[in-house]
Each structure stands twice: as structure tokens, then as C-alpha cells.
Subunit: 345 residues, 2 copies
């Protein structure tokens, strides 16, 4: 047995990596960097914002007067569709491979001042529908092997524009995290003949210690191996490989789940809760991936208040990630939040 | 072949992970978060600093009136010496192991207002000597399997006190990065009968494109797979497993190398250049680790100026790390810096 009130490490079953948990360290005083508080007083329309309807973008085109969502190719894409193939290997020591890809931007709303937790479920559903539609379009390109749908929320998470938006990067090879999660899920699937995350959510639902939301089609929980202070995952109850397979009910339930989870987040510190969030799903145009089970990760950096974050530095970069409150304590805090947004309460 | 001016990924031979390089994306405008500029006007002694000589610490003890360096056990250690052993495993899905450890803090100087690049080589040598001495003392505890020596520099890197200091975390199990680097170095060593980093520095010295410093005992370079904008590594020329094996000449040369590298860093943006840096070395009390080759990583976050950093978020957290300037461009910028600190020039 392990005393979970004492320092210990836990295994991330999706990556095989450890996280160091230091439950006794919760009360450490903080004399370091304090982040700016987000004012939250944004206009509904900002004439200088390149994402607002009708405004001009960096490439000179005008945005349409869109009513719900809007998708376009990033004017500063990190990967490009026309890159020629090629590989390089010098003595196994210097190795490089050309990467083809497409970077798209999706606005979630014409309103400059909204974020997911402040949007109606019907408006969030339009975002979910667009994610599925874009996934299906991109998946038709044979050379695309992986589609990463994600959102950086908040300046502290590198988001360069508060207008609610996310990104979709699709590319010709599999990123690190997908390679690792594929291998781990495959090993489990071959050994147990069932999806690892299926077994995991069944166990979590029976224990009911880390579960935040449990509806018809999704479970939202703090994973046993959570690294970021209030890290969560949304996992589909059906063993689905990717968002292309979601039916209408599942899309509606995902919209509901996203709204409730992000409202709870905002309510923790009465602030627009920053995070990077994104779906992990099976590679495409790459044969069957029965082992894969769709899920979405939320990596939020705040630790103790709207202005004090967890730094993943030093020991974390060179050794293993480390956390100061236990996943169970974090789950209890998220669970006790209201499901009404603090701005509307 | 690969056109290195087009998007591509490179392999980190120490971890097996990819980094996505987007050379064309260098000119992306930045409208996001801007960091505070460090004032740099610190007093030589700060009566409120818990690291300055003679001041009181959190545990109530007074610091000695030390003249060079000072080492003590962290008052808020993340791991503790007296944790009982234990493991837990539920269905391979929930796995935890108790972790024993010791967290020490090392001040680099009695002066509150200095950092490594502003210290004399003789003063830096005292830090190197203390690192070796502490390593040797900790290695005598049979239960300690790994010793992580590191420094978080700058508030932006989670450093909670500007007084120059580093940390040493030692523990009963191997952290993620060490497990991975051990496996990769071992595979190479068994296949080629030589240290991977030995072969790597020979190749880099012959190409001379990414090498910053080349002296009798160390090479400092921007690795081919650098992830952070100005990431570097210091690698020992002798195939040594850990700092316990350094001779007097090597310690003196490491002090010189640290001074030159950090001066070049400070000069890039005429600012106290933030980073997390630390040594990677062989596990101890764990049999022979012939495959291991001592090295030190520098992970600095600044990208374009003293106030604009690279955010490792979103795609990077969910997929693979991504960089906007090539390692070769970064090496050229570091190489053209003066070796005289900008404050003294
Ligand atoms: O121990 P410190 O300096 O208070 O804390 C800093 O370094 C630690 C080790 O890298 C990290 O876990 C903390 O997040 C960081 O703020
Ligand atoms: O593309 P953006 O929003 O300008 O940039 C942001 O997201 C990208 C993808 O996660 C990251 O590479 C950048 O570091 C971050 O600032």
C-alpha cells in the first residue's frame, strides 16, 4: 500500500510517464511571479481584432459577417501544405524529416467578449459540429495522418487574441504524444481485448472519487495521474476512435459537457480560467486503430488563485512533472463549484 | 534530403522525441502576452531575503554569515527522507509508488544581486566544487538512485527569489527523463560500443555549425534537436558518468564554460537571461551505467526580446514541441555575442 498523503508518484497509463505528487506541500508560501488578472471588460466587437466579423486579416482579406463560427487557414501557419517530402540521416545522430500540414483557425462566436463557459449550449454545439465537419474534410486528404483539434485559452497560455477561437493542425506524420498514446493503448488492447479508457472510466465511475460529470455519453474527471493542478479529461462512453464517428446525441452531450466543465473552471477563482485543451484521437489514413479511444485533455496552469500558477520548470523539465495538491483534492474543489457561471449568478 | 528552410521535424536522440521546426514562421507578429522586464536594480544585501547571510529562514533558523556558498535542506521539500516504502496497483489502471527523497538548496554567492554570468570564475568554481561535494555525500545513501542538480533562473522560470541559487533533488526512483535517456544511451552503446554523446560531439565539432564553446574538457552547443529558442547543452569531452568523477581541471573548465555561456545569454537581449538548467547524469547505487555520458541542459524561454517568450502550449502539449527559428540561426546569434557581460562592457 501507499499512503497517498505522503510523497509518491503515479503512473500516467496513457503515456507511461510518472507524476510526482507532494500532498504535504500545499501550504508552501509563494514569493515568486504573480500573473496579471484578466480584466474581463472586453467589447462585443473590437475594430482592431483580426477575428471579429468584417475585419481585415493579415493576408489582406476581409472576414465575412459571420453569425456563428468561422474557419480559415492560419495566416502564420507552422506547417504548410506544399512542403516537398524528404528525409535526412547522418550517422543516426542528425535526423530530420520534412513535414506537410495545414493550420486552421476556428472562431467560436462572432462576439469578441465571450468564451465557451459564457456561450449557450446551442452555440457551443455549432462549434462541435464544425469540429466534426472540418475533421471529415481533412480526413479525405490521403497524406494527412493526424488531426489535432485544440484551444489555447488566456494570455497566460500563449493565446494571442482574447476573441474566442481554437485551432486545428493536421499533418503528414504522428506527433510525439499520439505515437506514445497509440503504443500504450495498443498494448493494453492486445492484452485485455478491451479499450484501456473503457476499463478506466468503468473503474472511476465505480469509485466516484475523481468524477466531475457523468452524463449519457461522456465522463469528465480528474485523472488519477493528473499533472496540472486542475487537469481534467473528457472521455466518450462509447469506444469511438475519433470525432468523425460522433452521432447527433453525442455531439449535443459534448456541448453540454464542455459548458458545464468550463463554467466550473471559471467559478474556482471567479476568473476566466486559462487552459490548453484538445482532443486526442486515432491517426487517420493509417489502417485500423481499434485500440484508440477518443478523449479530450484540459491542461490549466492556475494553482492557488487567479494570479498564481504552477511552474513546470527545473525539476519538472529535467526529471518528472510534480504537483502540490492531490488529484482527489482538485476533484473535490471542481465538484463543489456551482454550474451557474459566476458572472450570471 | 530535407530542405531545412521548410517545415520539418528533427529527432532528439536522447529522448526519441520529435521537435517540429517552422523556419519560415520567424516573422510572425506577436499580439499576445508580454512579460515584465527585470529591473536588475537589486541591493547586494536584502534584509527580507531568506537566502542572504545571517537572515532568518522559514524554519526559524538563522543563516550563517557565509562567504561563498551555503547549502541547506529546503524548508518546503517536495520529497522527504522518512517516507515509508509502498506500492499500489488497481487493475493496472491506478498505479502509485511511495517516493523518498531530499531537496536541498544551494546559494551561489552571499551577494543578493549577482547571477552566474556576473560572478568571477573563481566564485563559480566554488559552486562547481560544492555540487561535486554534495553529489558525493548524497551518493553514499544506498537508497538514493538519482541526484538532480539544477537551477531555475528568473521569475518567468518559476524562481521565487532572485538571490542566486540552485537546487539538488535526490530520490529513491528514476525520474521520467532519466529513464528515457538511459534507455536510449544504452541501446546506442550496445549497438556501437561507444557513447552516443561522444559520437555526437565529434560530429558536431567536425561540422562546426552549432558549436558555441570548445575548450579542453567541454563542448557547449545548440543541439540539432533544440526545442527552446536558445536551448543549449554542455557535454564533457571525457566519457564520464557523473560529476563525482570530474578532476580538478574539469571542474575549472566547467566553471569557465558556465561563465562564458551565461554571459553570451545575458548579452543576447541585454537582460538577465532566464532559464532552467541542470545536469543529467547516470543513476547511482544501481550497478554500472557505462552508457551514460554527463551533460547539462539549458532550457531558456525567451524568443524575440527580453519580454517575449516562446509558449509551449496547445499543439506543443498535445502533440510535439514546435520552434520558430532554426537551431542553426539560434547558434549564430549566440556565437556573435561578446564574451564580456553587457553590464561591464
Ligand atoms: O522550489 P521552488 O524554487 O520554490 O519552486 C520552483 O522550482 C520547483 C522545482 O523545479 C518547481 O516544482 C516549482 O513549480 C517552481 O516554482
Ligand atoms: O498560433 P498562435 O495562437 O499565434 O500561437 C500559440 O499557439 C501555438 C500552438 O499551440 C504555439 O505554437 C504558440 O507558441 C502559441 O503562442
Amino acid at each position: 500500500m501507499v499512503d497517498l498523503n505522503q510523497p509518491h508518484h503515479r503512473l500516467n497509463i496513457l503515456t507511461g510517464e510518472k507524476v510526482l505528487v507532494s500532498p504535504h506541500r500545499n501550504n508552501r508560501p509563494w514569493q515568486g511571479k504573480v500573473e496579471d488578472i484578466v480584466s474581463g471588460n472586453l467589447p462585443a466587437y473590437d475594430p482592431t481584432c483580426y477575428l471579429c466579423p468584417t475585419n481585415k486579416r493579415a493576408d489582406g482579406t476581409d472576414n465575412p459577417d459571420y453569425q456563428d463560427t468561422f474557419v480559415f487557414t492560419n495566416d502564420f501557419s507552422a506547417i504548410l501544405e506544399n512542403t516537398a517530402e524528404g528525409t535526412f540521416n547522418q550517422a543516426d545522430l542528425l535526423q530530420a524529416t520534412a513535414e506537410r500540414g495545414l493550420c486552421k483557425v476556428i472562431t467560436f462566436s462572432p462576439r469578441h467578449d465571450l468564451t465557451l463557459p459564457e456561450m449557450d449550449i446551442s452555440a457551443i454545439l455549432k462549434v462541435v459540429n464544425l469540429w466534426q465537419q472540418e475533421f471529415n474534410i481533412l480526413a479525405q486528404k490521403e497524406w494527412i495522418k493526424y488531426i489535432q483539434i485544440f484551444e489555447n485559452k488566456g494570455a497566460i497560455m500563449g493565446c494571442s487574441n482574447p476573441h474566442p477561437h481554437g485551432q486545428i493542425w493536421s499533418q503528414s506524420s504522428l506527433p510525439n504524444e499520439i505515437l506514445i498514446e497509440t503504443a500504450r493503448q495498443k498494448a493494453y488492447y492486445e492484452k485485455n481485448n478491451t479499450s484501456m479508457l473503457q476499463a478506466y472510466i468503468e473503474l472511476e465511475l465505480s469509485l466516484n472519487e475523481r468524477v466531475i460529470i457523468d452524463n449519457d455519453h461522456f465522463v469528465a474527471l480528474v485523472p488519477y495521474w493528473a499533472t496540472w493542478p486542475f487537469e481534467t479529461m473528457i472521455i466518450s462512453k462509447r469506444h469511438l476512435q475519433h470525432i468523425g464517428q460522433f452521432n447527433e446525441e453525442e455531439k449535443a452531450d459534448l456541448a453540454k459537457t464542455l459548458q458545464e466543465l468550463t463554467i466550473r473552471y471559471d467559478n474556482i477563482f471567479s476568473t476566466s480560467f486559462p487552459y490548453s485543451a484538445g482532443m486526442h484521437q486515432a491517426p487517420i489514413n493509417d489502417g485500423a486503430h481499434e485500440e484508440w479511444h477518443w478523449h479530450m485533455h484540459f491542461y490549466p496552469p492556475l494553482l492557488r488563485s487567479a494570479s498564481i500558477k504552477k511552474f513546470m520548470v527545473g525539476y519538472e523539465m529535467l526529471g518528472s512533472p510534480q504537483r502540490d495538491i492531490t488529484p482527489e483534492q482538485a476533484a473535490a474543489i471542481i465538484k463543489k463549484q456551482s454550474t451557474v457561471h459566476y458572472k450570471k449568478a
